[in-house]
Every structure is written in C-alpha cells, then in structure tokens.
C-alpha cells in the first residue's frame, strides 16, 4: 500500500513520506512542515494508540434475583401438574391462577399443621379437589415414565391420579370465569 489517508494508520509524517516515496504525492506538493519535521522530529511520535477498552466484567451480579418463598411451591406445582388447565390473563392485576390458588391453600395449611412438604402437597391437592378444582398430573420424564408404566401393571388405580372430566372442567370454568 502506497500510503493511507486514514488518520489512525501510522503518523502524519510516515503517511506523507510514503505517499511521496511511491509517487502519489508530487515533490511540488510537499508540505512546508515536512523538512522541518524531518530535521527536528518530536519527542513523542504522534501515533494513535487505541485505549484499552475494558472487557465486559460481569456487572449483572450486582442485581439480585427476585425469589419468593412461594416460588418453591410453584416449582413443585408446575413440575407435577404441568402448565395448569386455565390460561393466564396477564392484563388483569387481580387475576388468581390455579397455581396461585395452590400456593395460597398450601400456605394456609402450612400455618395450621406441622406436616412436612410432600404430605402438605398431597393435602393441598385434596383440598383444592374438594373446592372443585381438579389437577391433571402431567406426563413425567421418559425414564420415570418407563418405571411408572412397570408399576401401573402391578398397582391398581391410585388416588393421586386426579383426572379432569368434561363436566367438572365446564363447572370449573363456570365458577371461576372472568
């Protein structure tokens, strides 16, 4: 490359010198300062040095994650009952979903009794069933499905398998509709 007019490549002097060497710039067009610069070069070469941009240090760690106590119950609910039978209405700030009802019932039962978590979950499911909300257990992970399949041959219908009948679903939608 004969020379570059880009101001960040080399110094002004090196650029002009190269342009003249290659013949792009005629000797008649030599700038006045050229000989002066050649005779008395500056102490610090006017080279453009790119300042080191700080690589993105993880600043996100300063923002704490928002976790509530009832998130544990919600996680259990979504893992066992899937996404819930009712669609969410996010625009309504007073909306109470099936999951939220579960959480409220759970915290209510927790304050009254001293049972451990797994037993409390069963109790909550039964309590919701008595109120008319049926929860359909969703299909589990394929590995556990195989195990469950093997077990269902030996066991009879367990009370945990709460299936949603058509009439109950309609009644549920009727009482808890908007």
């Amino acid at each position: 490359m004969a020379g570059s007019r880009l101001e960040r490549v080399g110094t002004v002097f090196s650029r002009v010198r190269d342009l003249m060497c290659s013949g792009v710039m005629k000797p008649a067009d030599k700038p006045i300062w050229f000989d002066v610069y050649e005779a008395f070069p500056p102490k610090k070469e006017p080279l453009y040095v790119k300042t080191k941009t700080r690589t993105f240090v993880n600043k996100q760690s300063n923002v704490p994650a928002i976790f509530y106590a009832e998130d544990k119950v919600r996680a259990w609910f979504y893992e066992h009952y899937g996404t819930g039978s009712r669609s969410f209405d996010l625009s309504n700030s007073n909306f109470v979903s099936v999951c939220q009802r579960f959480v409220l019932k759970y915290s209510e039962l927790k304050s009254h009794s001293e049972l451990e978590d797994s037993a409390l979950y069963e109790m909550t499911a039964k309590a919701l069933l008595s109120e008319g909300i049926t929860l359909k257990q969703r299909a589990r992970h394929p590995v556990s499905l195989i195990k469950a399949h093997v077990h269902t041959h030996t066991h009879t219908h367990t009370p945990d398998q709460l299936t949603c009948t058509h009439e109950e679903k309609q009644n549920f939608q009727g009482t808890h509709g908007k």
């Binding site: 993105f56 928002i66 509530y68 998130d71 919600r74 996680a75 979504y78 996404t83 819930g84 009712r86 669609s87 969410f88 209405d89 996010l90 625009s91 309504n92 700030s93 007073n94 909306f95 109470v96 979903s97 999951c99 939220q100 959480v103 309609q170 939608q173 009727g174 509709g177």
Partner: protein
Amino acid sequence: LLPVKVMTSESFAALLRRSPLIQMGPARDKVVVGRIIHVVKDDLYIDFGGKFHCVCRRPAVGGEKLQRGSRVRLRVQDLELSSRFLGGQTDTTLLEAQAVLLGPLETRDGRDHQN
C-alpha cells in the same frame, strides 16, 4: 377499556408478588390470553400483557374471524427473543415475544368476545 381500579395503599413490591406475571413463573409453554392490536395482511400482532407483543401468522382455519381487537389463546415460548452474538458485549433483542397461536378465546356460550 378495562375499568379503572381505585388506588389502594399496597406497595409495588406487594403488587408484584401477587401479580399474574410472577404467578406464571417461567414463561415457556404457558397458555395466555392475548388481544390482537395490529393486523398486517396475514400477520397478527398480539399483546398478551408481557414485556413485548408477539407476531403470529393468521391460521388457515377460521382465520378470517380474527381481526383487530379479537381475543386469542397463545402458548408462550419466549417473553423476549434476544441472544448474544459472538463478540458482542450485550444481547441483541428483536423487541418481540414468541408464541404459538392456539385459536380464538372460546367463552362459555361459544362466542368469542370482540372488545
């Protein structure tokens, strides 16, 4: 238009804690109710109350009934389509959510309400 609620003395933190967004948890595969806000030929811009709206294609079956203002059911895949490109310092976002259109919102009497 939704009715205006009387201002209570509840704090924002309390309101957030019992809001349907927090109740929903992770947005993946959740069924939500949305409202069509804009239509461009076969593209329906649907607002479901999340951070962004989503754009869905008009379905072949029963698509003519879906106009601006129709309420529909969606299965949310992502609340925000964003990801980081190689060498980038921040994520690049599309300012859009991703959802699958399930169909119009069926009410008890079978009609879908048009707001």
